[in-house]
């Protein structure tokens, strides 16, 4: 049966028709906030020495602390070849970076439990492809950063001989290589050393989830024989010490393992509880 529409119903219908186009739709994606944490070796026991094999040697870490300055997630896909990527990507900010944790802290690599970073993260629901770990205190472009980003203490047993070692790794101006081409003096800024980029991170952030940075200290010691380390300066309890230069293979490779997107770093995403 057809009945007439009342005046009130007509007004409501008209209002709905008018309001409908204005109240629907979205600009796409969303901005989210999330938690961030870091974990050390999954098979370590907090407070206990952590022992693993590295080549023919046995390494025991009694202290391993990494200072994380910040974390970023990007849509950038690693490419081979070409020159060094700039620390910031010109003209492509919106959408290139999809997540950030603008602060960090010291992460005990020998503690498998979640260690909350000092700040929460912000980002968008754009899918991420890779992540970055920033190893610095303060400004990533600052020439000087004398504080260590990695502190190690332990011992190595090789050929039946056990020696203690220690290291306080900094990324200071002394690390910055001199430009090979004088016409390109800015081709190797210090920030490129402090930013570990290209870490696989195929994830999509969501409101209330947790970004987990998993750190495997064993990866620091790939191709690090340790025995070539120089003796520590006097007054230090350890026998061998890493240096903040490339004077020995162990220090050079440790630094390379620290600043490369290798197995040391892994990003995981823990979805928020429903």
């Amino acid at each position: 049966m057809v009945r007439a529409v009342s005046r009130g119903e007509g007004a409501a219908l008209l209002a709905a028709l008018l309001l409908a186009p204005a109240c629907t739709g979205t600009t796409g994606y969303a901005l989210v906030s999330f938690y961030a944490s870091a974990r050390g070796a999954s098979d370590a026991v907090k407070g206990q020495p952590y022992t693993f094999s590295s080549g023919s040697a046995r390494v025991t870490l009694t202290r391993a602390v990494l200072h994380v300055g910040a974390l970023y997630l990007t849509q950038a896909v690693p490419t081979s070849g070409g020159g060094p990527a700039p620390c910031t990507l010109p003209g492509t900010y919106d959408g290139v970076f999809v997540g950030e944790v603008r602060g960090g802290g010291d992460v005990d690599l020998l503690d498998p439990s979640p260690q909350g970073l000092t700040v929460t993260g912000d980002g968008s629901t754009l899918p991420a492809a890779t992540g970055q770990v920033w190893l610095m205190h303060g400004d990533v472009d600052a020439p000087s950063d004398p504080l260590p980003v990695l502190t190690l203490e332990g011992s190595v047993t090789s050929g039946g001989r056990t020696q203690t070692f220690a290291g306080s790794i900094t990324i200071d101006s002394g690390r910055q290589p001199a430009p090979t081409n004088t016409s390109l003096p800015g081709s190797s800024p210090i920030c490129t050393l402090r930013i570990v980029s290209g870490i696989p991170a195929h994830l999509t952030l969501a409101q209330g989830g947790t970004l987990v940075l998993r750190l495997d200290p064993r990866a620091l010691f790939n191709d690090v024989p340790l025995v070539d380390l120089p003796a520590c300066p006097g007054g230090q309890p350890a026998a061998l010490c890493f240096t903040n230069d490339e004077s020995n293979q162990s220090s050079r490779n440790l630094f390379q393992n620290l600043t490369a997107a290798g197995p040391l770093y892994r990003f995981d995403w823990v979805a928020p509880a429903p």
Partner: protein
């Protein structure tokens, strides 16, 4: 003695027609003293369409010679042009009942004789269907109101307010009053707005008056000297890039302005001088040209109040404003001079501003027409607070009204002269206008903090030096426009054909550099252009009527845009510099790969043509009601920075469709104008805001659909304008919402005014209250976010007595703390102040805003001497 002002009656006449150019001029261009001020209507009685003529649906024009005695009464009426006995009689009966403020000569009332045309037409096409007649010699400005049956015939609006009265015996003065023709309405989105009593509603500047038209939101992130950003019907018109602004026909949009091609700063217009505003929300008029994408707005300046008027305003934020206006008695309302001086410390941090503006115009008679000469100078210097990150405010690192970078601000200058004339010869009306505009501006804005200073390999190592943009523009504009309009009778109707042209040449220099906010040293040049720009448009417009209730209006416009651009900083990147002489930190390089020398500049020239059809069909089968269907194409020329040698100049095109209905007529004692419009528009290259360059850049196509409702009701003691706009604006490729444009805008302007029950010294006190209410719905922001809503009330109260008026104005009456603009984009500011960034930068989008003004209270005092 002050003659009682009767704005209500004035509005009745003007709004009902919606078409009137009510210019009225004194007798001669250089009148021999003493000049004669024409009489002005105090009481007019509409002629009644004679029933005897109804059977034949008779049309007719009657022109009367009306003698007005020194007391303001009609003493004699003679028929100069007959429309037939019955129509002559109806017109004569009506005219005899009119009363006037008498004509003035040498400060004394004198008898005068004027011509009064009446037009009779059978029922009942609404006013929008009737083309405004060209002015005739020696007659009051005429409007083509059409009587109902039986109903009033035409009622010419009153001429300008007269000077104070005295009586002088003698023969009547022959008073010639000249009017200017107005263009016919192009549909329901053609808003011909007489400001009238709504001038009492607080308006900060001339841009604010745009709110009288529906759907307009104004924001400003750049400070008091920076043009307002205009949102209209789903368009983000930025600072005018999508809205063709003119003042008295003189263009305001700045072609080639590096901050935005078409940037339109209206702050040089003294708002008290805005007499009328025509806003066309769409590209439906063939006279519209470049930048008329969302529509056009033309300010008509005039000064009703004669004599010397001085106004002083002082109030919150250490704000002071002095305004002096002079309307020479005996001259038309379009003859005036005005100057203002303004200063404020501004609310919150870094919002101080100083401004000076002077405007003068003379209108004189020239045979059967009139001419105007206009001059204007404007200057300002100001600071602006810019944007704030919401998280910094939430954390307490920044206050809501603070700033990151106190170096933001700018200055601005504008000087212009213009001359125009309009003259009718036989059935042809001719108009010509010339203008010259000189304009400079400097603008310092910081949208992103410390993000953009990417370390390039050829540069010496550096950290982030700051993103303070320093933009400089220097422009010279020379142009002309003109038309010839031919009127004739066909099918028993007045048909019109108009041919016109518009031409402008712009010589523009523009550069944008980046400054260190601490030292204000320029460390990089982003852009440096010298441009010669030409725009020549031709149009043909027709107003064809098949019957008195059916009209087809429209035409075609063609614009040629020509560019000659010298990019002074064409080479900014290099892969393999010279090893012996690398460019290092130079912004504008004189070498390309392997060090090969090249001059740093590069020229490009090109041109292209846009052809824009426009049409509107208006139907008025019912009394006072008009239905309209409109179609139009518009165009926005492209920024010079985008042109390439010999590649046809790209431009953004728009197609717009709309259907509307309007009512204009009396409802009891109230004159009511109501409109309902549905619209659908498509832009093939829309602008999208890019914070990294501080302006909009070309994006993809967008479409929008929506509805507009608007009402204006005018009575003897009140004036109310209210409107609402709903719109959905989406990208064509993704169908996602276009960010930043509001989907709902509601605006109400109200003024009530009446004699108070008290008198002083024998003169009444006149009180007035006015309020402007704005509601803006949530605006979509990038990444699926929504802005806050805006709800503000501005109010004004005043009392006038004889020559004096005191008022109290309150802006943001509720003291709402609201973000005026909101953004979601990437920024990385140092909340602790200018200098090197501290801590890790932010690279993901976050919420930023510019603060709306808190409550402000301002008192003003106005005095008028020697006028009426």
């Amino acid at each position: 003695m002050v003659i009682p002002h009767r704005p209500g009656r004035l509005l009745v006449g003007l709004i009902a027609s919606g078409l009137v150019a009510c210019a009225a001029l004194p007798a001669r261009a250089q009148p021999a003293a003493p000049a004669v001020t024409p009489p002005s209507v105090v009481t007019h009685v509409d002629a009644v369409y004679p029933p005897s003529a109804l059977a034949d649906r008779k049309h007719g024009d009657v022109v009367l010679a009306v003698t007005v005695d020194a007391d303001g009464h009609v003493s004699r009426v003679t028929v100069l042009e007959s429309g037939g006995a019955d129509l002559d009689e109806a017109a004569t009966v009506a005219a005899r009942q009119w009363t006037f403020v008498p004509a003035m000569k040498g400060g004394k009332a004198v008898a005068s004789r004027i011509r009064v045309p009446f037009h009779f037409a059978p029922p009942a096409p609404p006013p929008e269907l009737v083309a405004p007649p060209a002015p005739k010699e020696a007659e009051l400005p005429s409007r083509p109101a059409v009587p109902q049956a039986p109903a009033p015939a035409s009622a010419p609006p009153p001429p300008p307010a007269p000077t104070p009265a005295a009586v002088e015996a003698g023969a009547p003065e022959e008073v010639n009053v000249h009017g200017r023709s107005a263009v016919p309405s192009v549909g329901a989105s053609d808003f011909n707005l007489h400001v009238g009593e709504l001038a009492r509603v607080p308006h900060q500047n001339a841009s604010d008056l745009l709110k009288l038209a529906p759907g307009i939101l104004l924001t400003n992130e750049g400070g008091e000297g920076h043009a307002e950003q205009v949102f209209l019907r789903g368009f983000d018109a930025r600072e005018g890039q999508d809205l063709e602004f003119t003042v008295g026909g003189v263009p305001i949009n700045e072609s080639g302005n590096l901050h935005g091609n078409g940037y339109a700063d209206t702050h040089f217009i003294i708002p008290e001088l805005v007499h009328r505003l025509r806003v066309v929300e769409g590209p439906f008029d063939p006279r519209q040209g470049n930048y008329a994408v969302a529509g056009s707005a033309d300010y008509e300046l005039g000064l009703d109040k004669r004599g010397l008027t001085a106004k002083y305003t002082a109030g919150s934020f250490n704000t002071q404003r002095m305004l002096v206006m002079w309307g020479p008695p005996g001259e038309s309302e379009h003859t005036f001079a005005a100057a203002e001086a303004y200063s404020t410390s501004g609310f919150g941090q870094n919002r101080d501003a100083r401004r000076g503006s002077a405007y003068a115009q003379y209108e004189g008679a020239l045979g059967t027409g009139s001419y105007r000469v206009t001059g204007q100078v404007y200057t300002t210097d100001y600071h602006s607070a810019g944007v704030l990150r919401e998280d910094d405010v939430a954390s307490g690192a920044k206050g809501f009204y603070d700033t990151y970078d106190p170096a933001q601000g700018g200055d601005s200058f504008r000087a212009s002269v213009a001359a125009d004339l309009e003259k009718k010869t036989g059935s042809t009306t001719l108009g010509q206008q010339l203008f010259v505009i000189k304009r400079t501006m400097r603008l310092r804005e910081d949208f992103t903090g410390y993000l953009l200073d990417v370390q390039q390999p050829w540069q010496t190592p550096h950290g982030q030096r700051g993103d303070l943009l320093d933009l400089d523009v220097d422009e010279l504009t020379v142009g002309a426009r003109g038309f010839s309009r031919l009127s004739g009778k066909a099918l028993g109707q007045t048909q019109q054909l108009e041919l016109g042209y518009f031409a402008r040449y712009d010589q523009v220099g523009g550069s944008q550099q980046r400054l260190s906010p601490t030292t204000l040293d320029a460390y990089h040049t982003d852009t440096s252009l010298q441009s010669n720009l030409g725009d020549v448009g031709l149009y043909g417009a027709a107003d064809l009527k098949a019957t008195d209730w059916l009209a087809l209006r429209g035409g075609v416009r063609a614009d040629v845009f020509a560019y000659d651009v010298n990019n002074l900083c064409a080479y900014q990147t290099i892969d393999t510099p010279s090893k012996t002489s690398p460019p290092l930190d130079a912004s504008c390089m004189s070498q390309v790969d392997t060090g090969k020398y090249v001059d740093p500049n590069k020229r490009a020239d090109t041109a292209s043509t846009a052809v824009l059809p426009k049409a509107a069909l208006l139907l008025g089968p019912f009394a006072n009601v008009t239905f309209s269907l409109s179609y139009g194409q518009g165009v926005r020329s492209i920024d010079p920075i985008y042109i390439t040698q010999d590649v046809a100049t790209p431009f953004a095109g728009i197609q717009a469709y709309e259907g509307g209905a309007s009512y204009a007529g009396p409802v009891g004692p109230v004159t009511l104008v109501a409109r309902s419009v549905f619209f659908d528009t498509h832009v093939d290259r829309d602008y999208i805001f890019d914070q990294t360059v501080g302006r909009n850049v070309i994006g993809v196509g967008t479409s929008r659909v929506g509805w507009v409702g608007a009402v204006r009701a005018t009575g003897d003691w009140f004036d109310e304008s209210a409107n609402v706009t709903f719109v959905k604006s989406t990208y064509d490729d993704t169908h996602l919402l276009v960010p930043y444009v509001p989907d709902v805008v509601v605006r109400s302007d109200t003024a009530v005014f009446h004699d108070l029950p008290w008198r002083a010294g024998g003169s009444p006190l006149v009180g007035a209250l006015a309020a402007g209410v704005t509601y803006v719905g949530q605006r979509p922001l990038p990444f699926g976010a929504l802005s806050s809503t805006i709800f503000t009330i501005d109010a004004n109260a005043s009392v006038a007595w004889t020559h004096y008026e005191v008022g109290l104005m309150v802006t943001n009456l509720l003291d709402a703390r609201y973000p005026l603009s909101e953004f979601n984009y990437v920024s990385s500011f140092n909340a602790s102040g200018p200098g090197a960034p501290s801590g890790p930068p932010s690279y993901v989008p976050g919420r930023l805003f510019t603060a709306g003004a808190p409550r402000g209270v301002f008192a003003n005092f106005t005095v008028n001497f020697g006028g009426a």
